[in-house]
C-alpha cells in the first residue's frame, strides 16, 4: 500500500509524515506527491529517528493525537536533538484542542493543520514551511565574538537577519544591540554556501529600529575571490527583492 518509508528520491525534498491513521497518511502522501516532494510515511513514533537518520528531511508533519508517545512528546524529543531541531515541523490535529496546539507551537512547531486534510490547505502550509528552513539558514545565524586577549571564543546568542550586503560592508537586523567596534566572526550558512570561511565583521554603527537593531558592519580581510562571490550574491539579492 506504500505506507512504509520508501527510498528517498535524491532530486526531491523529503517530507516525513507521522500519523497512526493510515487514511490520513495516504491523503498526505497524495498531496505531497502532487507538490513534487517525496513523502516518507510512518505510523509509529519509534520509526522516526531511523527515518531521520536515513533521509535528509525538509519538513516533518506530525500528528498530535497518537497512542503511546503523543505528537507533542515526539516534538519535544526532536527539539532536543541538535541535528534535527531545525527541521520545520507542522502539527496535524483532529480536533479543536487549542491547548495541545498552543503547547506544540510553544515547543517549536511552526504551524498546524486541522483534519480532515483539505488538500489545498495542506499544500499551501507545506509549501510555505518547506521553504522556511532554507530562507532561515540563509538569513539567520549565530555569531562568535572574538576575544582577542584570551584567544577564546564565545557565542553571541544573536538572532540575525541579513538586510543588505556590499563589497566591504553588510547591514543586519539583530535582536540585541551590538557595541560599536565589536569584532566577531560569522558562522552564517550564507557565508558557508558562498564558501567563505567564517569572515570577520566589525560593528560600525548600531541603531534602534522599532523592536530590533540595525547593525552596519565592515567585512574585514576578505580575499579578491571572496569579494567577487559577495558581489554576485549581492546582485542576486537585489534582483530577488525587485522581483
Amino acid at each position: 500500500m506504500g505506507i512504509e518509508p520508501k527510498e528517498a528520491n535524491s532530486n526531491k525534498k523529503n517530507i516525513i509524515v507521522l500519523d497512526d491513521n493510515k487514511n490520513d497518511l495516504l491523503m498526505a502522501k497524495f498531496v505531497i506527491l502532487r507538490m513534487g516532494f517525496n513523502p516518507l510515511l510512518i505510523e509509529k513514533s519509534s520509526q522516526l529517528i531511523d527515518t531521520l537518520q536515513l533521509h535528509k528531511t525538509s519538513l516533518i508533519v506530525l500528528d498530535i493525537d497518537m497512542p503511546g508517545l503523543s505528537g507533542l512528546d515526539v516534538l519535544k524529543k526532536i527539539k532536543k536533538v541538535d541535528s534535527y531541531k531545525n527541521i520545520p515541523i507542522v502539527m496535524l490535529t483532529g480536533n479543536s484542542d487549542i491547548g495541545s496546539v498552543k503547547a506544540a507551537i510553544s515547543t517549536g512547531a511552526l504551524d498546524y493543520i486541522v483534519k480532515p486534510i483539505d488538500p489545498l490547505v495542506f499544500e499551501s502550509k507545506v509549501k510555505k514551511l518547506v521553504g522556511f528552513q532554507e530562507d532561515e539558514s540563509k538569513n539567520s545565524w549565530v555569531e562568535y565574538q572574538i576575544q582577542k586577549v584570551t584567544h577564546s571564543e564565545f557565542k553571541l546568542g544573536l538572532s540575525v537577519t541579513l538586510i543588505s550586503i556590499g563589497e566591504m560592508s553588510l547591514t543586519l537586523k539583530s535582536n540585541q544591540p551590538l557595541a560599536k567596534g565589536l569584532t566577531f566572526s560569522s558562522d552564517s550558512e550564507l557565508f558557508k554556501s558562498l564558501e567563505i570561511a567564517q569572515p570577520v565583521l566589525k560593528v560600525d554603527s548600531c541603531e534602534v529600529q522599532g523592536d530590533c537593531y540595525w547593525v552596519k558592519c565592515s567585512l574585514i580581510g576578505l580575499s579578491e575571490a571572496d569579494l567577487k562571490k559577495i558581489r554576485l550574491y549581492s546582485q542576486l539579492l537585489i534582483s530577488k527583492k525587485m522581483a
Binding site: N21, N23, L33, R34, D65
Partner: protein, 136 residues
C-alpha cells in the same frame, strides 16, 4: 429502533457522501496518476470492518477511553472521503464520550444511540463508496 431513528434525524442536514469531495479526490488522482479514491476507499473499508467489530464490544465492556480513540480515528477517515454525516456523528460521539469520562457519569442511552447510528451509516456509506469507486 424508533429512538435511534429520531436521534439520527439530527444529522439529516449533513450529506452522507459529499460528491464535490469525491470529485476532488478523482481529480487529484488524475493529476498524480494514482487511484486516489480507490486506495482511500480500500483503507477506509478496512477501518470500517474493524470499527463495526470493535464498537459493540468496547461499549459492552465499558472501555470508554478506547471508544473515544476509535471514534476519533474514524472521524478523520470519514472527513477525507466526504462522508460528512458519519464524520459529524463520530465527532459528536467523541465529544460526548469525553464529557462523560470527565464527569464520570455515562448516559448509556446516548452512547447506544451513537453506536447504532454509526453502525447503520457505516453500512450504507460503504456501499455508496464502493459503487463510486467502481464508477470512477
Amino acid at each position: 429502533m424508533t429512538e435511534m431513528m429520531s436521534f439520527f434525524q439530527q444529522y439529516q442536514d449533513h450529506l452522507s457522501l459529499d460528491e464535490s469531495k469525491i470529485q476532488q479526490l478523482v481529480e487529484l488522482g488524475e493529476e498524480i496518476g494514482e487511484d486516489v479514491l480507490g486506495q482511500l476507499t480500500d483503507v477506509h473499508v478496512q477501518a470500517t470492518d474493524e470499527l463495526v467489530r470493535e464498537l459493540p464490544i468496547l461499549y459492552q465492556q465499558q472501555r470508554f477511553d478506547e471508544l473515544v480513540r476509535v471514534a476519533h480515528k474514524f472521524k478523520s477517515s470519514c472527513g477525507n472521503l466526504g462522508l460528512t454525516k458519519l464524520h459529524y456523528l463520530c465527532a459528536d460521539f467523541e465529544k460526548e464520550l469525553s464529557r462523560f469520562i470527565k464527569i464520570k457519569s455515562f448516559d448509556r442511552r446516548v452512547i447506544q444511540n451513537f453506536v447504532d447510528c454509526i453502525t447503520y451509516e457505516v453500512k450504507s456509506t460503504t456501499q455508496q463508496l464502493q459503487s463510486r469507486k467502481k464508477a470512477s
